[in-house]
């Protein structure tokens, strides 16, 4: 009987030691915040499901040179003038409000 109790005690002690050793090996290591390596900031990329094509990122406002802007204004005025001349030649509602290809009105 004594032998049986002693065997059970050794078994429980062995199990306890094994459990402690297992818990120690699987526990995450606690590290200080200073030791945390700094990860580079990355943009959140929207998930793409059916296409792997990457959409180019276009700046919302591009500052075109003043010469280009003045040329665009001139083109707009020429187009508007041509449209107005068409209306003057054949006055009707359709020609009065016909759309030109000018980027200023599209």
């Amino acid at each position: 009987m004594d032998m049986l109790l002693m065997g059970l005690c050794f078994t429980f002690i062995g199990l306890a030691v094994t459990a402690m050793a297992f818990a120690a090996s699987t526990r995450p290591k606690a590290t200080s915040p200073k030791m945390q390596p700094e990860l580079p900031a990355t943009k959140v990329v929207p998930a793409r499901f059916f296409s792997e094509r990457v959409t180019p990122s276009i700046p919302t406002h591009i500052q075109v040179p003043i010469e280009v802007l003045l040329q665009q204004i001139e083109n707009h005025i020429r187009l508007e003038q041509a449209a107005a001349e068409s209306f003057v030649a054949y006055p009707n509602h359709t020609l009065l409000h016909s759309k030109t290809t000018s980027p200023f009105v599209n």
Partner: protein, 159 residues
């Protein structure tokens, strides 16, 4: 060279009118007149082109913005014939251009001497002024439509 201001004139009458003026050569990029200048002469374009421009503030800086292009045979500067005799646009040459400057006083005196020629000049001038009026009126109506569409689109976005 057939000039729109002298439409319906005989060759002799054309020569009489042109003799009242003086030839001017405007170099490439040169100015013929500026907005606000006294308008004492109108100009018949003999060769080249004239750009009519108006001032507009673009990115905080005043720029001459294109308004209309006139070529050989056409007339610029008819403000010289209409009170208060001040140019309401600026004119410059995008390439070397030759014009005939017709002084208002000389033209007026000619019209008094030759009433029939004067009547034709007045009719031709009325056509030029009327065409400009119709064109600008149409452009203004189109612009108003654009403004209303823009306003409606902004209101829809906010609402």
């Amino acid at each position: 060279m057939a000039h729109e201001l002298l439409s319906g004139f005989s060759a002799a009458e054309v020569n009489q009118v042109l003799a009242l003026g003086s030839h001017l050569t405007v170099p490439f990029g040169g100015s013929l007149f500026r907005l606000g200048d006294r308008a004492d002469s109108l100009f018949l374009i003999e060769r080249g082109r004239i750009h009519l421009t108006f001032p507009m503030v673009v990115r905080g800086k005043e720029e001459d913005v294109f308004f209309e292009e006139k070529s050989a045979g056409q007339t610029v500067g008819w403000s010289a014939m209409v009170s208060p005799y001040r140019f309401t646009l600026s004119a410059s040459a995008p390439l070397e251009t030759e014009v005939i400057a017709l002084p208002r006083e000389a033209l007026g005196a000619f019209c008094e001497r030759s009433p029939e020629a004067g009547r034709k000049i007045c009719l031709n001038l009325a056509v030029l002024v009327g065409q400009r009026l119709q064109l600008v009126q149409a452009m203004w109506m189109r612009e108003m439509q654009h403004v209303v569409e823009l306003k409606s689109a902004n209101a829809a976005t906010k609402g």
